[in-house]
Structures are given as C-alpha cells and as structure tokens.
C-alpha cells in the first residue's frame, strides 16, 4: 500500500533525528509560513484539517486551541502568561508511538509546538516526558538546544518578535500523570492527582495560568498541516477524523510495531498488515485503543480505526494501540493482568476507583485460580456500575471498559473457570506442549 506518510517517512534513515536532516527535508518551513499567516489563520487551518487529539480522547485540536483566552488578565488587570504543555507521559499499555516520534523525529514536535504557541499566544512550553524515557529525554533536550542555536526557539524567533522557550520535564513513573490535569499538578511539583473540572486547563492550567495540553503526535503533525493545507490532511482520513495516525500493534502478531496508516484503515487490515496472528493461530480478542478500550471479539474487527466508528462499535479508538490476543490466551488471566496494572496505578484520590480497582483485581485472581462463584460475575457488574462516571477523572471508566467487555463477551470462559474450578486453557495448553512456540505462549 502506497499511502502518504507524515511522521514516519524518513524513519529508517540514519541520523533522521538531527536538525540538519530535518532542515534538508523542508523542516521549519511551516514555521515561517505560520508567522506569515498569523494566529487565527493557523487555528482555522487546523480546524479544517479535522485533526483530533491523538492522546486518546479525540477532541478536535483546532477547537481546543480556540478555547484559549485571547488576552487573559489577573484580578489586578495585569496580563497573565499562557503556557503550552506537551503530554509525552506515554504509559498506556499497548501504546508506544510517542517514544518513536521523540527519538526519531523530535524536530517535528518542536516545530509543531512553536506553531501552536504562535496560534494560542503561549510564551513558554513544557514537554512532560515519562521518567523512564531517559534516552528520549536527552535526545529531545539536545534537539531543543540545536533549535535554539538556529533561532527557532528563544527570543524573537525568526524575527517575528515572538518569544517562546521550551523545556523538558521528566515525570517519575505514574500512569495517571497522562491525565492532563494530573500532569499539570505533577508539573507543579505536586502529587499527580487529577483536578476537578471545571475550571478546564484553558482557564486555570499549569501554575494557575491558561494552558493548552496536547499529545506528542498531535503537535508533530501540525507542520504538515500548515505546509500542505488543512483540506489535504483531512482527505487522508475519514469524514470527521482527519489524517493518518500512528497505530501501535502489540501482542501476538507476526510483526508487532508502529504503522502509519489512514484513519480509514479497518482493524482487520491493521492486523493483516502486522502479519496476522502469530503462528497462524486464530484470533480471539483485540483491545483496539490502548488498554483502557473495551475488547472486541474476532467477529467485530471489520470497522475503521477512527474515533466515531469505534465509538459506534462500543469501544474507543483511544491512543491507537491494538493489543492482539490469539486463541491461546485465557481472557480471564489477561484481564487479571490488566487489572493488576490498574490497581497499581489508581492514584487513590476517589474511593470508588481506589477500592473498586483493588477488589476487581482480587476477584479476577480468584476466578482465574478456579475459586470464583457465579455470584462473582454479578458482583463484577455491580462494582463496575459503581465506578464508571463516578470519579474525578476517567481512570475508573478506563478500568471498567476492558473488564465489562471481557465479562460480557467472553462470559462462557468465566463460567468455565467457575464450573471446572480451574483454568481450562492451562490444562489444554499443557497437553500440547510440543506444539508450543517459544514466544507468545499464554501459559508457562
């Protein structure tokens, strides 16, 4: 398939992360154009592109930028500074695209952020990168230093009288800091607990100032939109979700990795492009948009990976990370593993989420061990209904998504665990020991 690539065009070239390489391939031209056309026209162009937030929520980016107040003032009438924050706290299981952009194409992110800063009038930007990405943070920092030397950052950028400083800020290993208001708390040096909304970050964000938070990929495609125009970008995708997207495929496929494809691509095509299920096995389930998206069964995968179609199918496009599970996988155990993650990462601010994720995790371990009862399945539904939509942030909804879909769509598996008082799959896979391949084995 010869599809247009935006972010991964030069990904296999040596030194593609350097400024020289970026400049040689038309880099920072969009920035010059941005200064020519001005803020309103930039936002208009991004609106036309149908670019939707790549972090998971799919909120239209142009609209988000237009929510930023024009000339905010504090109580005394002094002008308030505005901030721009890039969310690079990539931690959703199944998602690993931002790391690629930051290590192979950091200047597209920087250029995108400067353009965004021009559009919303921000004077300072922070890239909040997850703490474990030591190398990526260093690559990013040296890219920022290079850009500053050439005058793409700092004071009076390219003679436009605009000042913009960009800093890298490392997190410290908390999944919840990927939630934008938790991220802002963390950036201020506090515990990363989500804030009540409203007020939204566009009014009260980082350090109490109006702030615009976007994902790495969202910023990184902005230079392309300005260079080629919003309609061109929109035409690459579906009616309401423009452009291409970096899809991450992980789990039991032949060639896991990152694929830049149109938003029109269906989930089945995506899995085929990734080489199909490993070892010629049958597909059992897919989590289509990062771990917090409800699962889909093998018969439900003929839908495009855009935000609306996914929503219609009862799941979400999320961060675009498909986790593929073959017939060897025990869904109860897989969900139990996911729940262990959520139990560990719940920030503990709201009782529903703190207690709910803990009890769900314990119940799933029990069911997996063959000690569950039929009552447990009803209890799971009840716990979930007490969690979703009852908390400050969407974390609790993220927990219930995969859990409820697993219990509803693979109910027979849960019932087998209860009835047989053991994991049926474990016994089955032990008897076919010789056929098991080294990788991708469900049970050891």
């Amino acid at each position: 398939m010869m599809e247009e690539k935006i972010l991964t065009k030069h990904i296999n070239t040596l030194n593609c992360h350097t400024l020289d390489f970026y400049l040689a391939n038309g880099g920072y031209n969009s920035l010059k154009k941005a200064f020519e056309i001005g803020s309103d026209a930039i936002i208009e162009e991004v609106k036309k592109s149908n670019l939707r937030g790549r972090g998971g929520a799919g909120f239209p980016t142009g609209m988000k930028w237009s929510f930023m107040p024009k000339n905010p003032v504090d109580a005394k009438g002094n002008p308030k500074p505005k901030y721009l924050v890039c969310n690079a706290d990539e931690g959703e299981p199944g998602t690993f695209k931002d790391r690629l952009i930051m290590s192979k194409n950091p200047h597209s992110l920087i250029e995108g952020m400067v353009i965004a800063a021009k559009a919303v009038g921000a004077c300072r930007g922070y890239i909040y990168i997850r703490g474990e990405f030591f190398k990526e943070a260093r690559i990013l920092q040296s890219a920022i230093d290079d850009a500053r030397k050439k005058g793409f950052l700092g004071k009076d950028i390219l003679g436009s009288k605009m000042d913009f400083e960009l800093f890298v800020y490392r997190g410290a290993g908390a999944y919840i800091c990927g939630e934008e208001s938790a991220l802002l708390n963390s950036l201020e040096g506090k515990r990363g607990e989500p804030r009540l909304k409203p007020p939204f970050p566009a009014q009260v964000g980082a350090f109490g100032m109006p702030t615009c938070v976007n994902n790495v990929e969202t910023f990184a495609v902005v230079p392309y939109i300005l260079e080629h125009g919003g309609p061109k970008f929109a035409s690459l995708g579906t009616e309401k979700s423009g452009g291409t997207r970096l899809f991450c495929v992980s789990g039991q496929v032949e060639r896991p990795g990152i694929y830049e494809l149109s938003m029109r691509t269906t989930l089945r095509e995506l899995i085929d492009i990734a080489g199909g299920v490993r070892g010629g096995k049958k597909l059992k389930a897919v989590i289509p948009g990062g771990a917090s998206a409800p699962m889909l069964t093998a018969t439900e995968i003929d839908i495009p990976m855009c935000f609306d179609a996914m929503m219609k199918a009862g799941t979400m496009a999320g961060s675009g990370g498909a986790i593929v599970m073959s017939e060897d996988v025990c869904i109860v155990e897989a969900t139990s593993i996911l729940l262990r993650f959520y139990e560990h990462e719940s920030c503990g601010q709201c009782s529903q989420c703190r207690e709910g994720s803990h009890w769900l995790a314990r119940m799933f371990v029990r069911i997996e061990a063959g000690k569950g009862t039929h009552k447990d399945l009803e209890m799971i539904e009840r716990i979930c209904s007490n969690m979703a939509g009852q908390t400050i942030c969407a974390f609790a909804d993220a927990v219930t998504g995969p859990v409820l879909s697993a219990v509803r769509k693979f109910r027979s598996e849960f019932e087998d665990h209860v009835r047989q008082r053991r994991c049926p799959q474990k016994i089955a896979s032990r008897t076919i020991d010789a056929m098991e391949i080294d990788r991708g084995r469900a049970h050891v």
Binding site: A174, K190, G192
Partner: protein, 176 residues
C-alpha cells in the same frame, strides 16, 4: 548531610525555567536518586530546606511516584515489565528465569547488594516486548537466550568495576 554542590548548581540553573520553586521538587529528587541510588528521609529534608518548602511537600511527592526508591537498590536495577504486551510475549517465563539465576524473588535485592529485581507495569515499549530496563537502558525483544547474554555482560561489567552500567548517555552538565 546536605545536598551536593553539583545538585545545587544544577537546580539553580533550572530555577528560571519554572515560575515556582515547588516545580523543582521532582528534578531535585531525580538528581538525588541518580547520585545516591535512592531517596532517603534525610535528602528529602535537604531538598525541602533548599527549596524553602515544608518537608511534607517533598515527602508526599516521593511516596506518590514509583520511580523514587525509598529503599537502597543494587548497583544494577533490573526492572522487567509484566504487563499485557510483554506478558503475551512470555515475560513471566523470563521473570522465573531471572529469579532462579539471581536466587531472589522480585522486589528483593541480592545480599551482596549488586542486583535488585523488580516487576514493573508497562514501560511503554509494548511492540518490542518483553522489555527489561537495566538502570536507565531499555533492552527489548528479549528471550531466554538474549537475557542470559545480557546478564552475563552485566556480570562482567560489575566485575570490572564499572560504575555507570546502563547509564552511558548520562551527561552531568545538562538536564535531564
């Protein structure tokens, strides 16, 4: 014991980047951990003093984030991902293997203080699982053979007295 001059200088350089002093708490903790391998109560007090904050404002941050080691860790900190992407590719088998080889359970440090083994949740590299983080470095697409090779290499490096295993890209002059 107060903060080292190196850390103080580095934090002073970072000061103008943020509108508040509190924002320097996490960078300060990262630096302390890099220098001493962990974050002790004493160093939390030092940071609080240096940044003019109540002690609790530092301590609550340390207890929230999993990356800060509240206990001493070995010279080499092995962190193996056990979440879904890596688990589907057999990380539980690797964990068994490492536990046997190091003769400790995950969450423990070897008695000679050389290795700590932890099981972590998602390192953000699911496409190349199983992933093992050795101090700062990611090692991807592992299987038992590659893991053995890697552990042999680390063993040799420790024997040779190397101090920055898995921290080769660290540059003391720049943040991060």
């Amino acid at each position: 014991m107060a903060l080292s001059k190196h850390i103080k200088d580095k934090l002073d350089k970072l000061r103008p980047n943020f509108p508040t002093l509190q924002a320097l708490v996490i960078p300060a903790l990262h630096e302390v951990q890099h220098e001493t391998g962990m974050v002790s109560e004493d160093s939390m007090r030092d940071i609080a003093e240096f940044l003019n904050l109540p002690f609790m404002k530092v301590r609550e941050v340390v207890t929230f984030y999993t990356m800060f080691n509240k206990k001493p860790v070995g010279k080499v900190h092995y962190q193996l991902c056990g979440n879904i992407g890596c688990w589907l590719n057999g990380s539980d088998k690797l964990m068994d293997h490492m536990e046997k080889r190091l003769k400790i359970k995950h969450g423990q440090t070897t008695p000679d203080g050389k290795y700590t083994l932890s099981k972590v949740e998602c390192l953000g590299a699911c496409g190349s699982g199983p992933v093992l983080q050795v101090n700062e470095d990611y090692n991807e697409n592992l299987d038992v053979e590659k893991l053995d090779q890697l552990m042999d290499d680390v063993f040799k490096k420790i024997d040779a007295g190397e101090n920055n295993i898995g921290r080769e890209t660290y540059n003391p002059e720049v943040w991060p």
